[in-house]
Amino acid sequence: MKKKLTTVAFSGTDEQKKELDELIAQHKDEKGALMPVLQGAQAIYGYLPIEVQKDIALQMGVSLSEVYGVASFYSQFILNPKGDYAVSVCLGTACYVKGSGQIMEKLESLLGIKGGEITKDRKFSLDATRCIGACGLAPVLTVNEEVYGRLTPDMLEGILKKYN
């Protein structure tokens, strides 16, 4: 799927920058270092914004285009930060058959964002996930580590309220 670009302003700290510099220095002369550096950078910042990718490209002597090519290829790399509460709707086969498509649509309208995006106050992010193995509870969503099952669209407002 085409990756969504973030509209959230970058807010990296000096500590994060220091950590990133150390990470790059550690991997710099290794062959195939881009992957571990991107993984490490995502662990530091939570996602891979353009500012971080530019820094990585400059320090590692590769083009930004190459860095972005890798970051946009692998689904584990994310270009949008996660909210304080990361809402993931399972769109696996069982959940989908049980109506998780409507769950997703309802959440999009409640939160005012599309899948892969984050609310302006950075409180909620919304993602579609593949099967999380809770098919018996279909349709399912998770908010951070908490699982909600046997959902109907009218339950969603109440669930979100718990986090507001």
């Binding site: 799927m1 085409k2 990756k3 670009l5 353009i50 990718q53 400059l58 590769v62 083009s63 930004l64 285009s65 190459e66 860095v67 972005y68 090519g69 946009s72 290829f73 692998y74």
Partner: protein
């Protein structure tokens, strides 16, 4: 040469031991089709058009990356292979915007000609297609990703050949597309506009921004004085658009064809190449005397200028302040000649025909408007000029040879060789040497700076002083050279051209299919036209060009004069990344 014995289609051949199946087949006189492969630049085995059978191998193998070994038995034309190639073409076509009738690459499209050869049904697979907006953000390149076949030749030309890499493959699977990082438009990146991606593209996904409509409009306007000058290398390449073999000099026919289009004056840019040398050699001698801003680096190539501004801003003070020959011509014409003829510069429409897409950017730069109006109104590439000639129904091949118009019809041999890597350096050395030594040179050929190698170095003794010169073409080579200068290499004078081989291999030159690019040394063939022209000329030194002398006598006074600086020189910016 070590060879191995192989059988190709049941016939025995001894082929070089380190060749690929594709190269081995070539020895046997067999051309295997390719779409993604470009020798030394893009060897990724992705398009799967070069499939062949190798006895004992599992499945079909990609000839472009499969090495030969002793006793190998290869088959290049079995029903299995033909079917596989045909199906791959049908799959490529299924996601390709098939606007072939009006496509800019119709008849020069490599996909089109292969589909034709293989009898492909263009609607065999009907499936989803992706929508992409045209990227028209720059004044020089248009990208139409709906025509892109993801061969990655452009990516490789940009990254591997030019060392730039502002485009790459984004996302994955069916959403894979070629674009800049974070989907930025090309004008937001550090693209230098060299156009090497365009001449690498096998289809119509990349092309120059066509400015011919503006020229035609001006030609139809009776209030405009529409004139054109043609760059040194255009005469060496435009013949290829009219089925001449690469390396055919068609200067006379080109001039006649342009006259038939209705231009008021057709002039030779070799003349302002000479003018550039007069200014640049003077600048060099001054900088040598003062020991300031050395090495001096040439400024004729606008792709190189933009590269320097983005990637080596610390060297912008080393750049010659001379405008490029294109800009000098427009500036000189709209000041000196306009005054002389009593024409308002606003009524002049100055067109340049150039081998270059970056020149389309150059005409929009600041400090390129000596007469208060842009020095050059429109820059059209060799391809656009050929397109205009064809559209006008001019029978190029049957034309009599014409001559450039007076008084800007004289160019020296030194000006002619500007179009090849090392040419500007050689031209400058011819003039600088005679000025310093105060006597005629015995030998005019500076062989060490000739040839198509990426970097050339030489030392010459001029006036008892050693002058160290270096020549680089292709920005990856420029990068290597400049890194070495940063690390302490002592050089006095550097020529850099953005395109490998110089203007003869520019991004605005006629496209040639991979089979030609991979097997013919286009740069050398095209450059030979220029060196042959130089050799046969009476005047081979810029300072002996009588037309240039006249311009100085009547207007500028002397090279490097205040007036010359106002009209013929420019400034640069530090862009960074």
């Amino acid at each position: 040469m070590n060879t191995v014995n192989v059988k190709i289609n049941n016939r025995e051949y001894a082929v070089p031991a380190n060749s690929t199946v594709l190269e081995a087949a070539r020895y046997a006189g067999i051309d295997i089709p390719t779409l993604c492969y470009l020798k030394d630049i893009n060897e990724i085995g992705a398009c799967r058009l070069c499939l062949v059978e190798v006895k004992g191998a599992r499945g079909l193998v990609t000839a472009c990356v499969y090495p030969v070994n002793e006793g190998m038995e290869i088959f290049t034309n079995t029903p299995k292979i033909r079917n596989a190639r045909k199906m791959n073409l049908e799959l490529v076509l299924s996601a390709h915007k098939k606007k072939c009738l009006t496509c800019i690459r119709s008849t020069t499209c490599e996909l089109q000609s292969l589909c034709n050869e293989y009898g492909v049904d263009e609607d065999f697979f009907k499936g989803r297609t992706n929508h992409y907006d045209l990227d028209t953000s720059t004044p020089y390149i248009v990208r139409d990703n709906e025509k892109c076949i993801l061969c990655r030749r452009c990516v490789a030309a940009c990254k591997n050949m030019q060392g730039i890499g502002v485009i790459g493959a984004n996302d994955r699977g069916f959403d894979t597309h070629i674009a800049s990082a974070f989907e930025k438009s090309l004008d937001e990146t550090s693209c230098i506009g060299c156009g090497q991606c365009i001449v690498a593209c096998p289809v119509g996904a990349l092309y120059e921004k066509d400015d011919t409509a503006k020229v035609l409009e001006a030609l139809a306007d009776p209030t405009k004085h529409v004139v054109i000058c043609t760059a040194p290398s255009v005469r060496a390449t435009i013949g290829e658009c009219f089925d001449y073999a690469p390396g055919t000099d068609v200067e006379g026919k080109m001039v006649s064809a342009i006259k038939a289009l209705g231009f008021e004056g057709v002039y030779d840019m070799n003349l302002t190449a000479d003018l550039t040398i007069m200014e640049e050699a003077t600048e060099f001698l001054e900088r040598m005397k003062e020991g300031k801003n050395l090495p001096l680096i040439t400024s004729c190539s606008p792709g190189w200028i933009k590269y320097c501004e983005h990637y080596f801003p610390e060297f912008t003070d080393n750049l010659s302040t001379c405008k490029s020959p294109q800009q000098m011509f427009g500036a000189m014409f709209k000041t000196y000649y306009a005054e002389k003829m009593g024409i308002d510069p606003k009524d002049i429409f100055f067109v340049s025909a150039i081998p270059c897409t970056a020149k389309k950017f150059e005409v929009t730069r600041d400090h390129q408007s000596a007469a208060g109006v842009p020095d050059v109104d429109v820059a059209i590439t060799t391809r656009e000029l050929a397109r205009m000639i064809k559209q006008a129904g001019i029978e190029f091949r049957t034309l009599e040879d014409g001559k450039f118009d007076n008084p800007f019809d004289i160019g020296s041999g030194a000006g002619a060789i500007f179009g090849a890597t090392g040419g500007v350096m050689e031209a400058a050395l011819r003039t600088a040497a005679e000025v310093i030594e105060g006597k005629k040179l015995e030998k005019l050929d500076f062989d060490d700076v000739r040839g198509t190698q990426g970097i050339k170095r030489a030392t010459y003794k001029l006036g008892g002083k050693e002058i160290r010169v270096a020549v680089a073409s292709g920005t990856a080579n420029a990068k290597r050279l400049l890194e070495s200068v940063k690390n302490g290499e002592k050089v006095d004078f550097i020529e850099i051209m953005a395109c490998p081989g110089g203007c003869v291999n520019g991004g605005g030159q006629p496209t040639q299919p991979a089979v030609v690019r991979n097997n013919v040394n286009l740069r050398e063939l095209r450059a030979k036209v220029l060196y042959t022209a130089d050799k046969n000329m009476d005047v081979r030194k810029s300072h002996e060009n009588s037309a240039v002398k006249k311009i100085y006598d009547e207007y500028f006074g002397h090279p490097g004069s205040h007036k010359a600086h106002e009209v013929l020189h420019t400034s640069y910016v530090k862009r960074g990344l």
